[in-house]
């Protein structure tokens, strides 16, 4: 079978039945985008990712990107040619505003493209993802001249971008970074320092790489407040605007990683050769961290998508294998036959678990993406603010909950294959290895949980969270009209009640200034939050599928499968949410009871 087939029907159902993309398409600037056009774009893009990008996933894993003796980085066979096709086809630019030479699609459709790219080849997809972040930074904070100079080729994908934040002593604590930037009489800066974990920091697919670098100017405030952001191109532009002058940015080494081997993770040295690498300040000095925040939600959603994308790719392999592989005899099968393993209840359970979580993740991520569109384009200031609040609230949940599920689902994907799942040839182990980075980068999932509890829960005195809960409650009430959703409704209401209780408990700790008590339960709280909002999405899915089935004329088998996965989620996965309440409300009591030294051997 093909390495990956874009799940166009599922995507279409999520966009139109759960997320109601029409709310975005009717806004100014998107009115030319009817459902058929969007469907056509998605299916053509899907074909491209499936036929051009997915076949390179395995070779990318095996060969990896390799540092050459001359300091360049060679990407795996076929990557350069495929990237060229990607740029030519114009997919890179599709969801950038038309003003900047993009295709002007909503962000929500852009996120669909991201999903397909990441399912096809996660390591490869990181190059455009980072470029996207650089584009957003320049659009939001660059000067007109900087936009004119750099945006055009970044948007087409002819140049790629990076985000250089991390240093050996500055990881989650960005404020500890030490890279130095000194202003020159001509207004440019000279940067010196070392950055690590720079994704696609050097490669052979584009004629120039635009690094966005966080650094400190002399005399700046300590911590995150004193950080500034700079453009540091690999090649500086000559008088004709051509990238011909090599800047002093060099790869020191590439990391040897558990997964995403095709993605070169670079140690970059700035200004090693003398006076420093030439950099151009974005906006004002000491505002770099604030600028970073404008990209944070979309960058985090982009990583959340990886949890979904890997699960989908892993599921497709597992399902195909389970249908083909015969082993043992299912209860009731003729004695003379061995059964395809998909007939065994435990294998069914694993497959349904994967499929149900995949649908819940897709719904949650696309819903958040739609709110991103509404926060930018809704008609009134009030609607935009409201949408922005939902984005802020759901982003840490979407990032952490989906990437945690991604690792779990990739692991289930292996389990379904049995012994073969442990063998690299099946491709299942690669998904597992690739998935493992997503809970770590772009803010670890622990940090997402802190963000949810400390920053998001208290938004508008807790009203933002309460409004979402009320919305979930309304969907739960709609389930009441259908007998076969009775248990689903009970579980969704119970989950919601537990979530409200947990939120109140945490809220009280925060009010009392007992931050550590609240943070001790942050991770299980995020998991509960994700599980219940996933239930909300699946309830919407069930209601939509039921309505379409009753109306008739649709694809009945597809819709009945939607009902089955929704009910499976509601009745068998959602109940796990309430069980998290004791862990959330236990506070630090047991965590700090034992001396860490006493925990060791």
């Amino acid at each position: 079978m093909a390495d990956y087939i874009a799940p166009v029907a599922d995507i279409d159902f999520t966009l139109n039945q759960i997320v109601e993309l029409d709310d975005v398409s009717k806004l100014d600037g998107f009115q030319h985008l009817d459902q058929d056009t969007i469907r056509g774009l998605i299916s053509e893009a899907g074909r491209f990712y499936s036929e051009v990008i997915a076949p390179l996933n395995r070779v990318g894993d095996q060969q990896g990107s390799v540092l050459q003796p001359d300091g360049t980085v060679k990407t795996p066979d076929g990557f350069k040619e495929a990237y060229e096709k990607y740029v030519e086809a114009g997919w890179a630019a599709a969801h950038i505003p038309e003003t900047y030479g993009g295709g002007g699609l909503p962000y929500t459709v852009g996120i669909v493209f991201q999903e397909m790219f990441k399912s096809a080849n996660m390591a490869f997809s990181l190059c455009p993802l980072l470029t996207q972040a650089a584009i957003e930074a320049l659009i939001a904070h660059g000067s007109d001249e900087q936009r004119d100079t750099y945006l055009g080729k970044l948007v087409t994908g002819e140049w790629t971008g990076t985000m250089c934040l991390t240093e050996p002593e500055a990881g989650s604590d960005v404020g500890a970074l030490r890279t130095k930037a000194v202003r020159q009489p001509d207004g440019t800066y000279r940067l010196t320092g070392t950055k690590i974990f720079i994704t696609w920091g050097e490669h052979d697919m584009a004629e120039n790489i635009i690094h966005l670098v966080l650094a400190r100017t002399p005399g700046s405030a300590p911590g995150t407040k004193g950080i500034s952001m700079f453009i540091v191109p690999k090649y500086l532009l000559d008088d004709d605007g051509n990238p011909t002058i090599r800047n002093d940015v060099n790869v020191v080494s590439l990391e040897h990683k558990l997964g995403i081997h095709a993605s070169p993770t670079c140690v970059l040295s700035f200004g090693d050769g003398g006076d420093g690498a030439v950099g151009y300040l974005i906006g004002e000095e000491q505002r770099g961290m604030r600028y970073m925040f404008t990209m944070m939600n979309t960058a985090r959603l982009g990583v959340g998508i990886e949890g979904l994308a890997i699960s989908e790719a892993s599921f497709q392999k597992a399902l195909a294998y389970a249908q083909e592989r015969r082993q043992g005899r299912a209860i009731g099968a003729p004695v003379t036959e061995t059964s395809p393993i998909v007939e065994h209840p435990d294998v069914r359970r694993m497959l349904l678990t994967m499929k149900a979580y995949i649908e819940a993740m897709r719904g949650l991520l696309y819903t958040t993406a739609k709110e991103v569109d509404l926060s930018r384009h809704a008609d009134t200031e009030d609607e935009r603010t409201r949408a922005g609040e939902i984005v802020a609230l759901l982003t840490p949940v979407a990032k952490a909950w989906c990437t945690d599920r991604g690792v779990e689902m990739a692991s289930l994907g292996i389990q379904i294959h049995g012994g073969m799942g442990y063998i690299e040839e099946t491709g299942a182990p690669q998904h597992f290895r690739d998935s493992r980075i997503a809970p770590i980068y772009e803010g670890t999932n622990g940090i997402q949980a802190i963000d949810l509890v400390l920053r998001k829960l208290p938004m508008r005195d807790g009203e933002v969270v309460k409004e979402l809960f009320a919305e979930i409650g309304r969907t739960a009430a709609e389930l009441e009209a259908h007998d076969d959703f009775a248990r689903f409704r009970t579980e969704l209401s119970a989950g919601l009640q537990a979530l409200a209780e947990a939120s109140e408990w945490l809220g009280r700790r925060l009010e009392a200034g007992e931050y550590n008590e609240a943070l001790a339960g942050a991770t299980p709280y995020l998991e509960m939050f994700g599980t219940v909002t996933g239930g909300w999405i699946m309830a919407k899915s069930a209601l939509a599928a039921r309505q379409l089935l009753d109306a008739g004329g649709g694809d009945d088998a597809f819709l009945r499968a939607k009902l089955a996965t929704a009910r499976f989620y509601g009745e068998q996965l959602l109940p796990k949410a309430t069980a998290l309440l004791p862990a959330i409300t236990a506070g630090t009591s047991t965590l700090y009871q034992a001396d860490p030294a006493a925990l060791g051997p």
């Binding site: 056009t37 774009l41 053509e44 114009g90 599709a94």
Partner: protein, 252 residues
């Protein structure tokens, strides 16, 4: 050069299909794709037209549905499309199809007509030759390479042994095999522009034709299960049996 490419929308072979119980005809979904075979024809047409600053017109017959398949070909770069969609053409035989296509092609005018050798759903493999006959122009078939210009067209015609070089004066009809050229992927811009390109939908009466369909599907049987292969035990003389089998399938 004015190039006409015959293109067909078919149900996605990857999705389940249904036959009508009484007529045994395929139930056509609204959503259809461009027949993969035709991607080669469209690409070939685009390359020849682009080299001569010509145009590519798509000619199609069948239920239009939401035109997704036609839009895919337009997104690759074809200039316009004409599709004949008429209930009276349901279950059309190859000759009727050829008559309809030839009539549209005549109306549109052409230097060169390109078609796939056969469709992925019907597989009759005779329509291009029939169209040529009806248009009164030469048919050059099974092309694995095509060059055209200066009033003539030359192809490599695939044979069992290799290929023949076949040349004819234009206008002509050429049928191309899969792999004649590598079809391009539609670009994002191409897909957006395809929405605005002219697509004309005609009925049979618009063409002044009266369909005379003489083919009927009498019955449909499931394809026979694949038989188990033969196991040849080597008692020292197995090679004789293997040679015999290879001769039987005419590979030696």
């Amino acid at each position: 050069m004015q190039v006409v490419v015959c293109a067909k929308q078919i149900p996605d072979p990857a999705t389940p299909y249904e036959l009508e119980p009484d007529t045994h005809l395929l139930v056509r979904p609204t959503e259809q794709i461009l027949d993969d075979t035709d991607r080669y024809g469209v690409e070939m047409g685009l390359q020849l037209a682009q080299a001569s600053e010509g145009t590519v017109t798509l000619v199609s017959m069948g239920p239009a549905g939401n035109m997704q398949g036609i839009r895919q070909a337009l997104a690759m770069g074809a200039d316009k499309a004409v599709i004949v969609d008429d209930p009276s053409l349901r279950g059309s035989d190859a000759l009727t199809t050829a008559r309809v296509l030839a009539e549209v092609i005549k109306r549109e005018g052409f230097d060169l007509v390109i078609a796939g050798t056969e469709s992925t759903d019907g597989y009759s493999g005779v329509v291009p030759q029939m169209v040529a006959e009806l248009l009164g122009v030469p048919a050059l078939t099974y092309a694995t390479a095509v060059t055209a210009g200066d009033g003539s067209v030359t192809i490599h015609r695939q044979t069992a042994a290799g290929y023949d070089i076949v040349e004819a004066d234009l206008p002509a009809v050429v049928s191309v095999t899969a792999g004649v050229v590598e079809p391009r992927y539609p670009t994002f811009k191409g897909i957006m522009e395809a929405k605005k390109k002219p697509v004309e939908t005609l009925s049979v009466s618009d063409l002044g034709l009266e369909p005379d369909i003489r083919q009927k599907v009498v019955s449909v049987e499931p394809a026979p299960e694949r038989q188990a292969g033969e196991i040849v035990e080597d008692d020292g003389e197995a090679y004789l049996r293997i040679v015999e089998l290879l001769e039987k399938v005419k590979v030696i």
